[in-house]
Amino acid sequence: MGGWAIAVHGGAGIDPNLPVERQEEAKQLLTRCLNVGISALRTNCPAIDVVELVVRELETDPLFNSGRGSALTEHGTVEMEASIMDGKGRRCGAVSGLVTVKNPISLARLVMDKSPHSYLAFSGAEAFARQQVCWCCGDFQGVELVDNEYFITEENKGMLKQAKEANSILFDYRIPLPGNETCLAAAAENVLQMNGLPISVYAPETVGCVVVDCQGNCAAATSTGGLMNKMTGRIGDSPIIGSGTYACDLCAVSCTGEGEAIIRATLAREVAAVMEYRGMGLQEAVNFVIKEKLDEGKAGLIAVSSKGEVAYGFNCTGMFRGCASQDGFMEVGLWE
């Protein structure tokens, strides 16, 4: 045991009918991000830097629901949130309601490192982002800012439309919608939903990364655009320390799935709490929490321990994930 370990995720709750090309694309992205993290770890990079680095990659790629490619609000805009936690000292930073910050996880890091607070949101967070920008001796410092349009993809505009239709279908399943078989079937048979949406329309929420470095320090980072068709101002589990993200000297955890269920279960902290107070090992803790603490909710999580172990678990249809550890283990997957 011992040594570094890393896990990444691109969201839980995958449509079983997801086209094979999309599945392959996802695996490639997960592999690429894992390798970014592994390279950094091999140069003795601290866990807190690695998780930020990897989540930045995931945010920048439009494939998953964070940064570019974020799910859209009911108004067709993007509001992003993220949190980061350094198990060493349990320092943390979180942001919500970002509209122009290219990499939300980096702003969360700046909140942790450069502000007297732990969590900044909406116009206050945007103002903080602008304050941080400066050119020192010709070097750019701070976070990159772009137009809200940058984050919006055609695909998600289409998904938003479907989500709005699905929400009205769910209230009256007798109305047939031509050409939208999956939605209709799901609504009528009440089959395979996540967060109240048929699985074909649901955008698996969130990306995340957890790392334990060569010194045994753990860190976690999570970032998302949130729920498709969400109310403006809605905050999910991703920026909530103890729910979507948590790290301490025993482990680091990042969660994804139904935000309400994750918050009610304080899911990320729960894994650490059963390790700390019940003496469970990492995999045992992950299994216990997923099985016993989600009630009717559907979610997944990735976790690492200070001993160099890596684990994941989910109780829904699939989770985009990848794991690797110093002993040469590496695995990327979507399904059970």
């Binding site: 349990r90 116009s123 101002g233 918050i263």
Partner: protein, 318 residues
């Protein structure tokens, strides 16, 4: 067994020689809110209704840091936040960044009951408030002269402070930022005779906080939490309470380590930096505990067996 209730008006560096004109209105407020809570429990209202009711009263009271009497951001504005949790179902609701809503805790409850979400903030929360028809007023309603003075004081000293710092006498030196008074927030926890638990917490936050700063109060598991073991409301320095997942940890220690309510509360309060945290909690079996590692915590509690108390400092001090 039997019902139990506890409420607080904030923990922090409350001066042991607090002047009468600052002490009495708060003690009176605690007494009044305790009576209301007890009456509601005796009338068989659900713990969820009781904690909302009591926190509304505390929010309306101008001497506590919530609703009217909220401390001010660095821009001199108010940004209020709150959360509520039903231990029986573990459903919860939270709001942040409110500027016109008279009772933040009631909006948090509406988020819980009338939306598919848990947490709404800033413009979105204010828009929701209007949709729901809750009482809203001009932001100036919430601002008190005391808090305007506190903000000025904090800005002159260039620090963020948790409120209730007594106004400085001219001769006094400005206290160092680390030795700051760390009070904030109001909260209520209650359990009925059937072991149903609920918790509610509400605040204006930190004096001179950055606009958009969110503290522990709306963070489920940090400032507020309830499940089938206990209900907890915390107060103090938000950043420490978030890192310490204070409210959740009290329940987790009971569940996973078999500690009693009092033991769990003591463990948690000791594990956060001194001077940063206080909490109130009730258990499913009707026990109450109120503990803090600050100089004081405005608090009150009562249980069905007739015991009741109101306090500010540690027992033995006065």
């Amino acid at each position: 067994m039997g019902w139990a209730i506890a409420l607080h008006g904030g923990a922090g560096d409350i001066a042991l020689n607090l002047e009468t004109e600052r002490r009495e209105p708060r003690e009176e407020g605690l007494r009044h809110c305790l009576e209301i809570g007890v009456a509601a429990l005796k009338a068989n209202k659900s713990p969820l209704d009781v904690v909302e009711l009591v926190v509304r009263e505390l929010e309306n009271h101008p001497h506590f840091n919530a609703g009217r009497g909220s401390v001010l951001t660095r821009n001199g504005t108010v940004e209020m936040e709150a959360s509520i949790m039903d231990g029986r179902t573990k459903k919860c609701g939270a709001v942040s960044g409110l500027t016109t809503v008279v009772n933040a805790i009631s909006l948090a409850r509406l988020v819980m009951e009338n939306t598919p979400h848990i947490y709404l903030a800033f413009d979105g929360a204010e828009a929701f408030a209007r949709e729901q028809g809750v009482e809203t007023v001009d932001s100036s309603y919430f601002v008190t002269p005391e808090n305007v003075a506190r903000l000025k004081q904090a800005q002159e000293a260039n620090r963020v402070q948790v409120d209730y710092t007594p106004p400085l006498q001219k001769e006094e030196q400005i206290p160092p930022a680390d030795g700051e008074s760390q009070i904030g927030t109001v909260g209520c926890v209650a359990v009925d005779g059937n072991g149903n638990l609920a918790a509610a917490t509400s605040t204006g936050g930190l004096v001179n906080k950055m606009v958009g700063r969110i503290g522990d109060t709306p963070i489920v598991g940090a400032g507020n939490y309830a499940n089938s073991y206990c209900a907890v409301s915390a107060t103090g320095k938000g950043e420490s309470i978030i890192r310490g997942t204070v409210a959740r940890d009290v329940a987790a220690l009971m569940e996973f380590k078999g500690l009693t309510l009092k033991e769990a509360a003591a463990y948690v309060v000791e594990s956060v930096p001194k001077g940063t945290c206080g909490l109130i909690a009730v258990s499913a079996t009707g026990e109450v505990t109120m503990q803090f590692n600050t100089t004081g915590m405005f608090r009150a509690s009562a249980t069905e067996d007739g015991h009741s108390e109101i306090g500010i400092w540690h027992p033995g001090q006065c």
